[in-house]
Symmetry: C2
Subunit: 348 residues, 2 copies
Amino acid sequence: MAQPKKAASIWDVARLAGVSHQTVSRVVNGSPRVAAATRDKVLEAITELGYRPNRLARSLAGGAVESVTVLTADTSLYGPEAALRGIEKAARSLDWSVQISVLDPADTHSDADIVARLPRAGEPTIIMAHDEPGMRAKQVLLDTQPQAMVAIGPYTAEELAASPWLVGMDDGKAAAEATRYLLDLGHDTVHHLAIPTSTGTFGGGKAHRADGWARVLREAGREVPDPVPSGWTFAEAFKAVQPLVADPAVTAILCGNDHLALATMRAAHLVGRSVPGDLSIVGFDNTPFSAYTTPALTTVNQDFESVGRGAFELLRHRVDGSQPRPKPSWPEPELIVRETSGPPRPRS
Amino acid sequence: MAQPKKAASIWDVARLAGVSHQTVSRVVNGSPRVAAATRDKVLEAITELGYRPNRLARSLAGGAVESVTVLTADTSLYGPEAALRGIEKAARSLDWSVQISVLDPADTHSDADIVARLPRAGEPTIIMAHDEPGMRAKQVLLDTQPQAMVAIGPYTAEELAASPWLVGMDDGKAAAEATRYLLDLGHDTVHHLAIPTSTGTFGGGKAHRADGWARVLREAGREVPDPVPSGWTFAEAFKAVQPLVADPAVTAILCGNDHLALATMRAAHLVGRSVPGDLSIVGFDNTPFSAYTTPALTTVNQDFESVGRGAFELLRHRVDGSQPRPKPSWPEPELIVRETSGPPRPRS
DNA sequence: ATCACCGAGGTGAGCGTTAACATCACTCGG
DNA sequence: CCGAGTGATGTTAACGCTCACCTCGGTGAT
């Protein structure tokens, strides 16, 4: 039953070890200019007192930062959630602390509102830039503290190469691959149930997945149907996809993520269309549940956790330019063929 | 392009407004002992300089805390994730910051390891106490800083009433309700695919869901089959449930959560048993996907987000005993009957 | 021997804020 | 008309740490 007595400070350690507080600081921070004997004395005092450096005081005094703030608009999406997990793991292994700060679109009107979500000016920040609030936050921080920010988002290889603060995967390429796969299966064309774009309104903003899909269709000389916009939730997707599943001419749907795909499967089931017999469905992200739906979902694997880790590495690099710029090192998106895709039924 | 010039401090504001820094502090903290005219001058200086109080300095100086640390062992589980969202929302509305600190079972050996995951001693903390690391963390913080901690977990109504630092829902009651429902449908007995208990090993530790299930079975004078232990992942559940789905005598399975239920559905499908014709499956938690599986999952709704919010309220109450102890105000767990449950096939 | 140099360690000044106390100009009752 | 309040504001000392600079004793070159 440890008494909640005040935690030991650097001074307490110094007194016990018979040295100055600065020497304790040196030991704690691993400075080489401390004699071995002194170091041992100090270390002993530290364990005896159970001393732990106070993070707040440390950053206040202008020491190393050791904390990241993750700015995201939606924690219930699989991508951001997995990326956050990656960031957290990487941070933990270095003993950094992780703050999470959610950008509610409802109260993110001015730039100041975004900056206000940072615990302090200059705080190292990772932004999930996959939607409107995220994109705005990205821009604000880019203007305001470019050295201490990194954004995660879907981007083309060129964008990625051009922006030293950007981390992500080439969604468009993956979508293209999935579309090509469906075409090769014999489908005349592929429809697309799209996630919201980065500006929130479909049509504006970048839509890498939709772009990759459309490109392949055009290249193959196929009709490019209007993509069907959906929100992020199951309910929205279920509603949005109705016209698609109801139309017998639609034989293949590429869904913007696995949630939309699951909703599509259900919608198809309810109108009596079998999957993959009548309708092929391909998802995106390889959300954990996707291997266990019935039938199991064909989807595009994305290693968000590794991307999160990569974002953290890059941020560290940018904050204290010490180490060389870390190279991205995560697997490319990859199509995982399971049970929801197959050749179309031969025409009668 | 705001220059990354140093952020304005309280002194800068004081100088511009022609007052002392303490007066600025008073204005910022809404002290009543400031003349209206002075307050206006200060407020004006604040907006002109874009001054934001520095959180670090504030807590260092012993001011109000305004930050919570959430200790959890697994962010990929729906319950903790939803609770975290609730905490975050509640915290955000009061402008508190949220830290997340993950307890990896692998490096959580000593009590010190747990305390080390706190950014500082006495930091207000919410613990997700649904598994072994969580339970240990709960105990450590209870011994070490009981005033600044709150735990979230499954507990009986009595436990909840007895522990002023506890927040959660009566899982056992909900499991009982679900079991009774299945019995009423005509099943001879109900089998149980169980999530890990709070000690990690099945048999030790509390298992509220399993307890509620077993109680109802005993009360009804039915056979109480051995619960089948599963891990948290789809893969583990899929493997663990094999003997159950393979046994034609098993006509109803209560699953410890919706993930296990989904894996069970798939396992049943693969051995050719129809749901709910041959086998009724009931899940737990009402995970968002559960309404969109095919067939849609019968499950027990749990409003984790509200529980998270409740935990935050309670923590605030405990940290600065000002306001009265907030009353729990979230919906009881409730059975949602969808499509995976039905009467057993009549015996031939 | 002299001096520059180096390694080990100490000292003092912040960092931005709050708590506690001090000060000052008034106002009011006796 | 004077001392006790009182309300508005200023001063000083932490909080726990790091940074920049200083001191001191020993070494090696000259």
